[in-house]
Amino acid sequence: MSDDIYREIILDHYRNPRNKGKVENADVTVHDSNPLCGDEIDIHLKVDEGVISDVKFEGKGCAISQASASMLTELVMGKDLKIVKDLKKEDILENIGLTNLGPARIKCALLSLKVLKVGMIKYYSENDPQSADQIRNESSLY
Protein backbone atom coordinates (compact mmCIF):
# COMPACT_ATOMS: atom_id res chain seq x y z
CA MET A 1 0.00 0.00 0.00
CA SER A 2 0.97 3.61 -0.43
CA ASP A 3 2.48 4.06 3.01
CA ASP A 4 5.07 1.42 2.05
CA ILE A 5 5.80 3.08 -1.29
CA TYR A 6 6.07 6.70 -0.23
CA ARG A 7 8.52 6.19 2.60
CA GLU A 8 10.69 8.98 4.02
CA ILE A 9 13.63 8.12 1.76
CA ILE A 10 11.58 8.23 -1.45
CA LEU A 11 10.02 11.57 -0.51
CA ASP A 12 13.46 12.90 0.43
CA HIS A 13 15.01 11.95 -2.92
CA TYR A 14 11.90 13.30 -4.72
CA ARG A 15 12.08 16.66 -2.99
CA ASN A 16 15.86 16.90 -2.65
CA PRO A 17 17.23 15.02 -5.65
CA ARG A 18 20.94 14.17 -5.60
CA ASN A 19 23.10 14.82 -8.67
CA LYS A 20 20.46 16.84 -10.44
CA GLY A 21 21.62 19.03 -13.30
CA LYS A 22 23.99 18.88 -16.25
CA VAL A 23 27.55 17.57 -16.56
CA GLU A 24 29.92 19.86 -18.41
CA ASN A 25 31.64 18.14 -21.35
CA ALA A 26 29.57 15.03 -20.82
CA ASP A 27 30.61 12.02 -22.90
CA VAL A 28 27.02 10.91 -23.29
CA THR A 29 23.64 12.59 -22.87
CA VAL A 30 20.45 10.59 -23.26
CA HIS A 31 16.79 11.52 -22.99
CA ASP A 32 13.71 9.35 -22.74
CA SER A 33 10.14 9.66 -21.60
CA ASN A 34 7.28 7.42 -20.66
CA PRO A 35 4.48 8.24 -23.12
CA LEU A 36 1.84 6.87 -20.76
CA CYS A 37 2.43 9.35 -18.00
CA GLY A 38 4.85 11.90 -19.42
CA ASP A 39 7.68 11.19 -16.98
CA GLU A 40 10.95 12.48 -18.45
CA ILE A 41 14.57 11.73 -17.63
CA ASP A 42 17.83 13.04 -19.11
CA ILE A 43 21.08 11.44 -17.97
CA HIS A 44 24.53 12.97 -18.52
CA LEU A 45 27.58 10.74 -18.15
CA LYS A 46 31.28 11.46 -17.94
CA VAL A 47 33.56 8.44 -18.24
CA ASP A 48 37.27 8.40 -17.34
CA GLU A 49 39.30 5.24 -17.90
CA GLY A 50 36.26 2.99 -17.73
CA VAL A 51 34.87 4.60 -14.61
CA ILE A 52 31.82 6.85 -14.33
CA SER A 53 33.53 9.97 -13.02
CA ASP A 54 30.40 12.10 -13.08
CA VAL A 55 26.70 11.48 -13.58
CA LYS A 56 23.80 13.88 -13.33
CA PHE A 57 20.14 13.73 -14.25
CA GLU A 58 17.40 16.13 -15.19
CA GLY A 59 13.75 15.23 -15.28
CA LYS A 60 10.20 15.71 -14.25
CA GLY A 61 7.57 13.27 -13.20
CA CYS A 62 6.22 11.29 -10.30
CA ALA A 63 7.94 10.68 -6.97
CA ILE A 64 8.86 7.12 -7.95
CA SER A 65 10.56 8.00 -11.24
CA GLN A 66 12.43 11.00 -9.86
CA ALA A 67 13.52 9.37 -6.60
CA SER A 68 14.62 6.30 -8.50
CA ALA A 69 16.73 8.43 -10.86
CA SER A 70 18.30 10.27 -7.95
CA MET A 71 19.15 7.02 -6.17
CA LEU A 72 20.50 5.50 -9.38
CA THR A 73 22.99 8.33 -9.82
CA GLU A 74 24.26 7.68 -6.28
CA LEU A 75 24.53 3.98 -7.03
CA VAL A 76 26.65 4.34 -10.17
CA MET A 77 28.78 7.36 -9.33
CA GLY A 78 32.47 6.37 -9.36
CA LYS A 79 31.63 2.81 -10.43
CA ASP A 80 33.37 0.80 -13.12
CA LEU A 81 31.33 0.60 -16.31
CA LYS A 82 31.73 -3.17 -16.29
CA ILE A 83 29.68 -3.30 -13.08
CA VAL A 84 27.12 -0.75 -14.21
CA LYS A 85 26.68 -2.61 -17.48
CA ASP A 86 25.32 -5.62 -15.61
CA LEU A 87 22.75 -3.76 -13.48
CA LYS A 88 19.41 -5.53 -13.62
CA LYS A 89 15.95 -4.20 -12.94
CA GLU A 90 15.84 -6.21 -9.71
CA ASP A 91 18.95 -4.33 -8.53
CA ILE A 92 17.16 -1.03 -9.07
CA LEU A 93 13.93 -2.06 -7.37
CA GLU A 94 15.98 -3.30 -4.44
CA ASN A 95 18.06 -0.13 -4.46
CA ILE A 96 14.94 1.97 -3.99
CA GLY A 97 13.26 -0.57 -1.74
CA LEU A 98 10.19 -1.02 -3.92
CA THR A 99 9.81 -4.65 -4.87
CA ASN A 100 6.01 -4.76 -4.83
CA LEU A 101 5.11 -2.23 -7.51
CA GLY A 102 2.37 -2.98 -10.04
CA PRO A 103 3.17 -3.16 -13.75
CA ALA A 104 2.25 0.47 -14.46
CA ARG A 105 4.35 1.93 -11.68
CA ILE A 106 7.35 -0.37 -12.30
CA LYS A 107 7.87 1.55 -15.54
CA CYS A 108 8.23 4.74 -13.48
CA ALA A 109 10.84 3.12 -11.25
CA LEU A 110 12.85 1.73 -14.17
CA LEU A 111 12.78 4.72 -16.52
CA SER A 112 16.15 6.04 -15.31
CA LEU A 113 17.82 2.63 -15.67
CA LYS A 114 16.47 2.43 -19.20
CA VAL A 115 17.95 5.85 -19.98
CA LEU A 116 21.26 4.91 -18.38
CA LYS A 117 21.48 1.69 -20.42
CA VAL A 118 20.72 3.53 -23.65
CA GLY A 119 23.49 5.97 -22.66
CA MET A 120 25.92 3.11 -22.18
CA ILE A 121 24.96 1.54 -25.50
CA LYS A 122 25.66 4.90 -27.09
CA TYR A 123 29.01 5.13 -25.29
CA TYR A 124 30.12 1.60 -26.17
CA SER A 125 28.90 1.59 -29.75
CA GLU A 126 31.85 3.77 -30.80
CA ASN A 127 34.76 1.82 -29.34
CA ASP A 128 33.32 -1.47 -28.11
CA PRO A 129 30.35 -2.58 -30.24
CA GLN A 130 30.43 -6.02 -28.63
CA SER A 131 29.61 -4.62 -25.21
CA ALA A 132 26.95 -2.38 -26.78
CA ASP A 133 25.30 -5.46 -28.27
CA GLN A 134 25.59 -7.30 -24.98
CA ILE A 135 23.70 -4.57 -23.12
CA ARG A 136 21.12 -4.44 -25.87
CA ASN A 137 20.54 -8.18 -25.78
CA GLU A 138 20.57 -8.66 -22.03
CA SER A 139 18.24 -5.83 -21.24
CA SER A 140 14.59 -6.72 -20.97
CA LEU A 141 13.67 -3.08 -20.64
CA TYR A 142 13.12 -2.33 -24.29
Binding site: S2, Y6, C37, G38, K60, G61, A63, I64, R105, C108
Partner: protein, 412 residues
Protein backbone atom coordinates in the same frame (compact mmCIF):
# COMPACT_ATOMS: atom_id res chain seq x y z
CA UNK B 1 -27.35 23.73 -3.57
CA UNK B 2 -30.17 22.05 -5.46
CA UNK B 3 -30.89 18.39 -4.88
CA UNK B 4 -30.51 15.72 -7.49
CA UNK B 5 -33.53 14.01 -9.02
CA UNK B 6 -31.51 10.98 -10.06
CA UNK B 7 -31.47 8.29 -7.39
CA UNK B 8 -27.91 7.15 -7.94
CA UNK B 9 -28.02 4.82 -4.93
CA UNK B 10 -30.79 2.80 -6.56
CA UNK B 11 -29.30 3.03 -10.06
CA UNK B 12 -26.06 1.45 -8.90
CA UNK B 13 -27.86 -1.88 -8.54
CA UNK B 14 -28.22 -1.90 -12.33
CA UNK B 15 -24.43 -2.02 -12.73
CA UNK B 16 -22.80 -5.37 -11.88
CA UNK B 17 -19.30 -3.89 -11.63
CA UNK B 18 -20.18 -2.10 -8.41
CA UNK B 19 -20.25 -5.46 -6.64
CA UNK B 20 -16.51 -5.67 -7.21
CA UNK B 21 -14.10 -4.81 -4.41
CA UNK B 22 -10.79 -3.05 -5.00
CA UNK B 23 -8.26 -3.57 -2.19
CA UNK B 24 -11.18 -4.71 -0.05
CA UNK B 25 -13.04 -1.43 -0.66
CA UNK B 26 -16.12 -0.65 -2.69
CA UNK B 27 -15.24 0.60 -6.17
CA UNK B 28 -15.55 4.38 -6.49
CA UNK B 29 -15.39 4.91 -10.21
CA UNK B 30 -14.51 8.51 -11.10
CA UNK B 31 -13.04 8.09 -14.58
CA UNK B 32 -16.23 8.52 -16.56
CA UNK B 33 -14.79 11.04 -19.02
CA UNK B 34 -12.60 8.15 -20.15
CA UNK B 35 -15.24 5.44 -20.29
CA UNK B 36 -18.40 4.59 -18.35
CA UNK B 37 -19.64 1.40 -16.68
CA UNK B 38 -22.34 -0.76 -18.29
CA UNK B 39 -25.77 -1.60 -16.88
CA UNK B 40 -27.24 -5.12 -17.03
CA UNK B 41 -29.62 -4.04 -19.78
CA UNK B 42 -26.69 -3.27 -22.10
CA UNK B 43 -24.72 -6.40 -21.16
CA UNK B 44 -27.85 -8.56 -21.45
CA UNK B 45 -28.81 -7.13 -24.83
CA UNK B 46 -25.43 -8.20 -26.23
CA UNK B 47 -25.79 -11.70 -24.77
CA UNK B 48 -29.35 -11.82 -26.10
CA UNK B 49 -28.18 -10.86 -29.58
CA UNK B 50 -25.50 -13.54 -29.72
CA UNK B 51 -27.83 -16.11 -28.12
CA UNK B 52 -30.94 -15.51 -30.19
CA UNK B 53 -30.31 -13.35 -33.27
CA UNK B 54 -26.71 -13.74 -34.34
CA UNK B 55 -26.28 -13.56 -38.12
CA UNK B 56 -24.84 -11.12 -40.61
CA UNK B 57 -26.91 -8.11 -41.66
CA UNK B 58 -28.05 -6.48 -44.90
CA UNK B 59 -27.60 -9.59 -47.05
CA UNK B 60 -29.24 -12.91 -46.35
CA UNK B 61 -33.00 -13.36 -46.66
CA UNK B 62 -33.59 -15.91 -43.91
CA UNK B 63 -35.49 -14.91 -40.79
CA UNK B 64 -32.50 -14.68 -38.45
CA UNK B 65 -30.70 -12.25 -40.75
CA UNK B 66 -33.82 -10.12 -41.08
CA UNK B 67 -34.18 -9.95 -37.31
CA UNK B 68 -30.51 -9.01 -36.87
CA UNK B 69 -30.78 -6.34 -39.55
CA UNK B 70 -33.88 -4.92 -37.90
CA UNK B 71 -32.17 -4.74 -34.52
CA UNK B 72 -29.12 -3.02 -36.01
CA UNK B 73 -31.26 -0.50 -37.88
CA UNK B 74 -33.50 0.07 -34.85
CA UNK B 75 -30.42 1.15 -32.93
CA UNK B 76 -29.66 3.63 -35.70
CA UNK B 77 -33.19 5.01 -35.33
CA UNK B 78 -32.91 5.26 -31.54
CA UNK B 79 -29.65 7.18 -31.85
CA UNK B 80 -31.09 9.44 -34.55
CA UNK B 81 -34.12 10.23 -32.35
CA UNK B 82 -31.85 10.76 -29.36
CA UNK B 83 -30.08 13.70 -31.05
CA UNK B 84 -33.03 14.65 -33.30
CA UNK B 85 -31.73 13.81 -36.78
CA UNK B 86 -32.71 11.37 -39.53
CA UNK B 87 -31.47 7.73 -39.32
CA UNK B 88 -29.72 7.93 -42.70
CA UNK B 89 -27.55 10.71 -41.27
CA UNK B 90 -26.06 8.36 -38.65
CA UNK B 91 -22.90 6.43 -39.57
CA UNK B 92 -21.51 3.73 -37.30
CA UNK B 93 -17.76 3.81 -36.75
CA UNK B 94 -15.48 2.31 -34.11
CA UNK B 95 -15.18 5.41 -31.95
CA UNK B 96 -15.08 9.23 -31.97
CA UNK B 97 -11.52 9.15 -33.29
CA UNK B 98 -12.55 7.10 -36.30
CA UNK B 99 -15.51 9.41 -36.92
CA UNK B 100 -13.20 12.44 -37.11
CA UNK B 101 -10.77 10.55 -39.32
CA UNK B 102 -13.66 9.62 -41.59
CA UNK B 103 -14.54 13.29 -42.07
CA UNK B 104 -10.89 14.19 -42.63
CA UNK B 105 -10.57 11.43 -45.21
CA UNK B 106 -13.91 11.48 -47.00
CA UNK B 107 -14.82 15.15 -46.83
CA UNK B 108 -11.83 17.37 -46.03
CA UNK B 109 -9.27 15.55 -48.18
CA UNK B 110 -11.38 16.02 -51.31
CA UNK B 111 -12.75 19.48 -50.54
CA UNK B 112 -9.83 21.37 -49.02
CA UNK B 113 -6.97 22.77 -51.06
CA UNK B 114 -3.52 24.12 -50.35
CA UNK B 115 -3.60 27.12 -47.99
CA UNK B 116 -7.22 26.49 -46.98
CA UNK B 117 -7.53 26.83 -43.22
CA UNK B 118 -8.94 24.45 -40.59
CA UNK B 119 -9.69 26.13 -37.27
CA UNK B 120 -9.49 24.11 -34.05
CA UNK B 121 -8.95 25.18 -30.43
CA UNK B 122 -6.42 24.66 -27.66
CA UNK B 123 -8.81 22.46 -25.65
CA UNK B 124 -8.95 19.71 -28.27
CA UNK B 125 -8.34 16.03 -27.58
CA UNK B 126 -5.53 14.57 -29.69
CA UNK B 127 -8.21 12.94 -31.86
CA UNK B 128 -9.28 16.38 -33.06
CA UNK B 129 -5.69 17.52 -33.70
CA UNK B 130 -3.69 14.71 -35.26
CA UNK B 131 -6.05 13.87 -38.19
CA UNK B 132 -5.84 17.52 -39.27
CA UNK B 133 -2.05 17.59 -38.94
CA UNK B 134 -1.88 14.55 -41.22
CA UNK B 135 -4.20 16.24 -43.71
CA UNK B 136 -2.15 19.45 -43.61
CA UNK B 137 1.05 17.52 -44.35
CA UNK B 138 -0.67 15.78 -47.25
CA UNK B 139 -2.59 18.66 -48.79
CA UNK B 140 -0.75 21.81 -47.70
CA UNK B 141 -3.83 22.84 -45.76
CA UNK B 142 -3.19 25.05 -42.72
CA UNK B 143 -4.17 24.50 -39.11
CA UNK B 144 -5.02 27.47 -36.86
CA UNK B 145 -5.72 27.37 -33.14
CA UNK B 146 -8.17 29.50 -31.21
CA UNK B 147 -6.58 30.09 -27.83
CA UNK B 148 -8.23 29.62 -24.46
CA UNK B 149 -7.84 31.32 -21.09
CA UNK B 150 -6.82 29.44 -17.95
CA UNK B 151 -10.39 28.19 -17.50
CA UNK B 152 -10.73 26.90 -21.04
CA UNK B 153 -12.91 29.75 -22.30
CA UNK B 154 -12.30 30.36 -26.00
CA UNK B 155 -10.99 33.61 -27.40
CA UNK B 156 -14.11 34.18 -29.48
CA UNK B 157 -12.89 37.50 -30.84
CA UNK B 158 -9.87 35.82 -32.36
CA UNK B 159 -12.06 33.08 -33.77
CA UNK B 160 -14.26 35.68 -35.48
CA UNK B 161 -11.18 37.46 -36.77
CA UNK B 162 -9.82 34.20 -38.21
CA UNK B 163 -13.13 33.30 -39.78
CA UNK B 164 -13.58 36.66 -41.45
CA UNK B 165 -10.02 37.23 -42.62
CA UNK B 166 -8.71 33.82 -43.71
CA UNK B 167 -9.72 31.07 -46.12
CA UNK B 168 -11.32 29.01 -43.34
CA UNK B 169 -13.03 25.89 -44.70
CA UNK B 170 -13.80 24.04 -41.47
CA UNK B 171 -14.20 24.82 -37.79
CA UNK B 172 -13.71 21.67 -35.71
CA UNK B 173 -14.06 21.89 -31.96
CA UNK B 174 -14.93 20.11 -28.79
CA UNK B 175 -18.31 20.92 -27.22
CA UNK B 176 -16.91 20.22 -23.78
CA UNK B 177 -13.31 19.96 -22.60
CA UNK B 178 -12.33 16.50 -21.37
CA UNK B 179 -9.82 18.12 -19.01
CA UNK B 180 -11.47 21.27 -17.66
CA UNK B 181 -15.11 20.39 -18.19
CA UNK B 182 -15.60 23.76 -19.88
CA UNK B 183 -18.70 23.86 -22.08
CA UNK B 184 -18.19 26.07 -25.12
CA UNK B 185 -20.94 28.35 -26.52
CA UNK B 186 -21.39 25.99 -29.43
CA UNK B 187 -24.59 27.42 -30.94
CA UNK B 188 -23.09 30.89 -31.07
CA UNK B 189 -19.93 29.61 -32.74
CA UNK B 190 -21.91 27.61 -35.30
CA UNK B 191 -24.02 30.69 -36.10
CA UNK B 192 -20.91 32.80 -36.66
CA UNK B 193 -19.29 30.13 -38.86
CA UNK B 194 -22.45 29.67 -40.89
CA UNK B 195 -22.64 33.39 -41.55
CA UNK B 196 -19.42 32.81 -43.47
CA UNK B 197 -20.63 29.52 -45.01
CA UNK B 198 -18.13 27.50 -42.99
CA UNK B 199 -19.19 24.04 -41.78
CA UNK B 200 -18.67 23.10 -38.14
CA UNK B 201 -17.62 19.72 -36.76
CA UNK B 202 -18.60 19.26 -33.12
CA UNK B 203 -16.68 16.74 -31.01
CA UNK B 204 -19.47 15.68 -28.68
CA UNK B 205 -17.58 12.84 -26.97
CA UNK B 206 -17.88 14.64 -23.61
CA UNK B 207 -21.18 16.47 -24.10
CA UNK B 208 -23.59 14.02 -25.76
CA UNK B 209 -23.41 11.55 -22.82
CA UNK B 210 -24.10 14.24 -20.23
CA UNK B 211 -26.69 16.75 -21.46
CA UNK B 212 -29.64 17.04 -23.84
CA UNK B 213 -28.41 17.52 -27.41
CA UNK B 214 -30.75 18.63 -30.16
CA UNK B 215 -28.85 18.75 -33.43
CA UNK B 216 -31.69 20.54 -35.21
CA UNK B 217 -31.34 23.44 -32.77
CA UNK B 218 -27.57 23.30 -32.63
CA UNK B 219 -27.35 23.17 -36.44
CA UNK B 220 -23.85 21.64 -36.53
CA UNK B 221 -22.79 20.06 -39.81
CA UNK B 222 -20.95 17.13 -38.24
CA UNK B 223 -21.29 15.65 -34.75
CA UNK B 224 -19.14 12.82 -33.42
CA UNK B 225 -19.35 10.80 -30.20
CA UNK B 226 -18.71 7.35 -28.68
CA UNK B 227 -21.08 4.74 -27.25
CA UNK B 228 -18.72 3.64 -24.51
CA UNK B 229 -18.75 7.04 -22.80
CA UNK B 230 -22.54 6.78 -22.37
CA UNK B 231 -23.10 3.32 -20.86
CA UNK B 232 -22.74 1.58 -24.24
CA UNK B 233 -20.14 -0.95 -25.36
CA UNK B 234 -16.66 -0.10 -26.63
CA UNK B 235 -16.12 -0.33 -30.37
CA UNK B 236 -19.07 1.81 -31.47
CA UNK B 237 -18.65 5.41 -32.54
CA UNK B 238 -21.16 7.72 -34.16
CA UNK B 239 -20.73 10.15 -36.99
CA UNK B 240 -23.67 12.40 -37.70
CA UNK B 241 -23.39 14.51 -40.84
CA UNK B 242 -25.99 16.57 -42.65
CA UNK B 243 -27.30 14.56 -45.59
CA UNK B 244 -26.10 17.18 -48.05
CA UNK B 245 -22.51 16.52 -46.91
CA UNK B 246 -22.86 12.73 -46.80
CA UNK B 247 -24.19 12.67 -50.35
CA UNK B 248 -21.06 14.41 -51.62
CA UNK B 249 -18.52 12.57 -49.50
CA UNK B 250 -16.24 9.92 -50.99
CA UNK B 251 -16.08 6.45 -49.35
CA UNK B 252 -13.92 5.92 -46.28
CA UNK B 253 -13.10 2.25 -46.70
CA UNK B 254 -13.88 0.02 -49.65
CA UNK B 255 -15.37 -3.46 -49.39
CA UNK B 256 -18.58 -5.32 -48.74
CA UNK B 257 -21.85 -3.60 -47.80
CA UNK B 258 -20.72 -0.17 -49.08
CA UNK B 259 -21.36 -1.18 -52.71
CA UNK B 260 -24.32 -1.44 -55.07
CA UNK B 261 -22.58 -3.12 -57.98
CA UNK B 262 -18.98 -4.13 -58.42
CA UNK B 263 -17.44 -4.51 -61.88
CA UNK B 264 -13.94 -5.53 -62.78
CA UNK B 265 -12.54 -2.00 -62.79
CA UNK B 266 -15.13 0.19 -61.13
CA UNK B 267 -17.88 0.14 -58.50
CA UNK B 268 -21.18 1.88 -57.92
CA UNK B 269 -21.35 2.74 -54.25
CA UNK B 270 -24.25 2.07 -51.94
CA UNK B 271 -26.59 4.78 -50.62
CA UNK B 272 -25.88 6.81 -47.50
CA UNK B 273 -25.30 5.73 -44.73
CA UNK B 274 -24.18 2.25 -45.92
CA UNK B 275 -21.63 3.77 -48.29
CA UNK B 276 -19.54 4.58 -45.20
CA UNK B 277 -19.94 1.26 -43.40
CA UNK B 278 -17.71 -1.17 -45.28
CA UNK B 279 -17.46 -4.75 -44.07
CA UNK B 280 -19.39 -6.54 -41.34
CA UNK B 281 -19.96 -3.94 -38.65
CA UNK B 282 -19.94 -4.36 -34.87
CA UNK B 283 -23.56 -5.56 -34.91
CA UNK B 284 -23.93 -6.84 -31.35
CA UNK B 285 -22.40 -3.74 -29.80
CA UNK B 286 -24.53 -1.43 -31.94
CA UNK B 287 -27.55 -3.32 -30.56
CA UNK B 288 -26.06 -2.87 -27.08
CA UNK B 289 -25.74 0.86 -27.69
CA UNK B 290 -29.46 0.94 -28.50
CA UNK B 291 -30.13 -0.50 -25.04
CA UNK B 292 -27.87 2.17 -23.49
CA UNK B 293 -29.80 4.95 -25.24
CA UNK B 294 -33.08 3.53 -23.91
CA UNK B 295 -31.65 3.42 -20.40
CA UNK B 296 -30.45 7.05 -20.62
CA UNK B 297 -33.78 8.23 -22.03
CA UNK B 298 -35.63 6.58 -19.16
CA UNK B 299 -33.58 8.66 -16.71
CA UNK B 300 -33.75 11.76 -18.90
CA UNK B 301 -30.77 13.73 -20.16
CA UNK B 302 -31.95 16.89 -18.37
CA UNK B 303 -31.94 14.95 -15.08
CA UNK B 304 -28.49 13.56 -15.80
CA UNK B 305 -27.15 17.06 -16.37
CA UNK B 306 -28.74 18.24 -13.10
CA UNK B 307 -27.30 15.28 -11.18
CA UNK B 308 -23.82 16.07 -12.45
CA UNK B 309 -24.17 19.77 -11.61
CA UNK B 310 -25.18 18.71 -8.10
CA UNK B 311 -22.16 16.40 -7.73
CA UNK B 312 -19.73 18.87 -9.31
CA UNK B 313 -20.82 21.73 -7.06
CA UNK B 314 -20.54 19.52 -3.99
CA UNK B 315 -17.09 18.28 -5.04
CA UNK B 316 -15.78 21.76 -5.90
CA UNK B 317 -17.02 23.07 -2.57
CA UNK B 318 -15.44 20.21 -0.59
CA UNK B 319 -12.17 20.41 -2.48
CA UNK B 320 -11.76 24.16 -2.24
CA UNK B 321 -11.72 23.91 1.56
CA UNK B 322 -8.27 22.30 1.23
CA UNK B 323 -5.73 25.05 0.65
CA UNK B 324 -3.13 22.79 -1.00
CA UNK B 325 -5.42 21.98 -3.95
CA UNK B 326 -5.17 23.79 -7.28
CA UNK B 327 -8.46 23.51 -9.18
CA UNK B 328 -8.65 24.02 -12.94
CA UNK B 329 -11.63 25.04 -15.02
CA UNK B 330 -14.66 27.32 -14.49
CA UNK B 331 -16.24 27.51 -11.04
CA UNK B 332 -19.72 28.20 -12.39
CA UNK B 333 -21.40 24.89 -13.28
CA UNK B 334 -23.48 26.72 -15.87
CA UNK B 335 -20.35 26.54 -18.03
CA UNK B 336 -19.00 23.26 -16.76
CA UNK B 337 -19.75 19.58 -16.97
CA UNK B 338 -18.91 16.93 -14.36
CA UNK B 339 -15.16 16.91 -14.90
CA UNK B 340 -12.69 18.23 -12.31
CA UNK B 341 -8.98 18.53 -13.01
CA UNK B 342 -6.75 19.41 -10.09
CA UNK B 343 -3.31 19.19 -8.56
CA UNK B 344 -2.25 18.79 -4.95
CA UNK B 345 0.87 20.67 -3.81
CA UNK B 346 3.91 18.82 -5.21
CA UNK B 347 2.21 15.42 -5.40
CA UNK B 348 2.45 14.13 -8.94
CA UNK B 349 -0.94 12.99 -10.33
CA UNK B 350 0.37 9.44 -10.79
CA UNK B 351 1.35 9.22 -7.16
CA UNK B 352 -2.07 10.54 -6.16
CA UNK B 353 -3.80 7.98 -8.37
CA UNK B 354 -1.76 5.21 -6.72
CA UNK B 355 -2.85 6.39 -3.26
CA UNK B 356 -6.48 6.72 -4.42
CA UNK B 357 -6.36 3.13 -5.64
CA UNK B 358 -5.64 1.99 -2.07
CA UNK B 359 -9.12 3.29 -1.28
CA UNK B 360 -10.77 1.64 -4.28
CA UNK B 361 -11.03 5.01 -6.03
CA UNK B 362 -10.37 5.17 -9.77
CA UNK B 363 -9.28 8.59 -11.01
CA UNK B 364 -7.30 9.53 -14.08
CA UNK B 365 -3.87 11.11 -14.03
CA UNK B 366 -1.73 12.44 -16.84
CA UNK B 367 -2.20 14.68 -19.84
CA UNK B 368 -5.63 13.26 -20.79
CA UNK B 369 -4.72 13.17 -24.51
CA UNK B 370 -4.71 16.96 -24.49
CA UNK B 371 -1.05 17.95 -24.49
CA UNK B 372 -1.71 21.24 -26.30
CA UNK B 373 -4.00 22.30 -23.45
CA UNK B 374 -1.50 21.07 -20.85
CA UNK B 375 1.12 23.32 -22.40
CA UNK B 376 -1.33 26.23 -22.35
CA UNK B 377 -2.06 25.58 -18.66
CA UNK B 378 1.69 25.13 -18.10
CA UNK B 379 1.30 21.87 -16.18
CA UNK B 380 2.83 18.52 -17.17
CA UNK B 381 -0.15 16.60 -15.85
CA UNK B 382 -3.30 16.85 -13.76
CA UNK B 383 -5.44 14.49 -11.75
CA UNK B 384 -9.00 14.24 -12.99
CA UNK B 385 -12.23 13.07 -11.42
CA UNK B 386 -15.27 12.80 -13.68
CA UNK B 387 -18.82 11.86 -12.73
CA UNK B 388 -21.85 10.05 -14.08
CA UNK B 389 -25.34 9.04 -13.04
CA UNK B 390 -24.25 6.32 -10.60
CA UNK B 391 -21.89 8.50 -8.58
CA UNK B 392 -23.04 9.62 -5.15
CA UNK B 393 -22.33 12.34 -2.62
CA UNK B 394 -20.81 9.72 -0.30
CA UNK B 395 -18.35 8.75 -3.01
CA UNK B 396 -17.21 12.35 -3.25
CA UNK B 397 -16.69 12.35 0.53
CA UNK B 398 -14.51 9.23 0.16
CA UNK B 399 -12.61 10.91 -2.68
CA UNK B 400 -11.94 14.07 -0.63
CA UNK B 401 -10.86 11.97 2.35
CA UNK B 402 -8.42 10.10 0.11
CA UNK B 403 -6.98 13.47 -0.97
CA UNK B 404 -6.42 14.29 2.70
CA UNK B 405 -4.79 10.88 3.15
CA UNK B 406 -2.43 11.66 0.26
CA UNK B 407 -1.59 14.93 1.99
CA UNK B 408 -0.71 12.98 5.14
CA UNK B 409 1.45 10.42 3.27
CA UNK B 410 3.30 13.17 1.43
CA UNK B 411 3.61 15.20 4.65
CA UNK B 412 2.04 18.33 3.24
Amino acid sequence: MQRSIVNSYELRNDFPIFRKKINGKELVYLDNASTTQKPYTVIDSITDFYSNYNSNIHRAVYQLAEEATNMYEQSREKIANFINVRPEEIIFTRNTTESINLIAHSWARTNLKKDDVIVITEIEHHSNIVPWQILCQERGTRLEYVGVDGNGFLDLEYMIELISSRKVKLVSLSHMSNVLGTIVPIERIIKIAHEHDIPVLVDGAQSVPHMPINVKNMDCDFLVFSAHKMLGPTGVGILYAKKEYLDKMTPFMGGGDMIKEVFKFHTNYNDVPYKFEAGTPNIADVVGFGAAIEYLEKIGMENIRKHEIYLTEYALESMSSLDYITLYGPRDTKYRGGVISFNIADIHPHDLATIMNDHGIAIRSGHHCAQVLMERLDVPATSRASFYIYNTKEEIDKFVNAIKEAGRIFKI
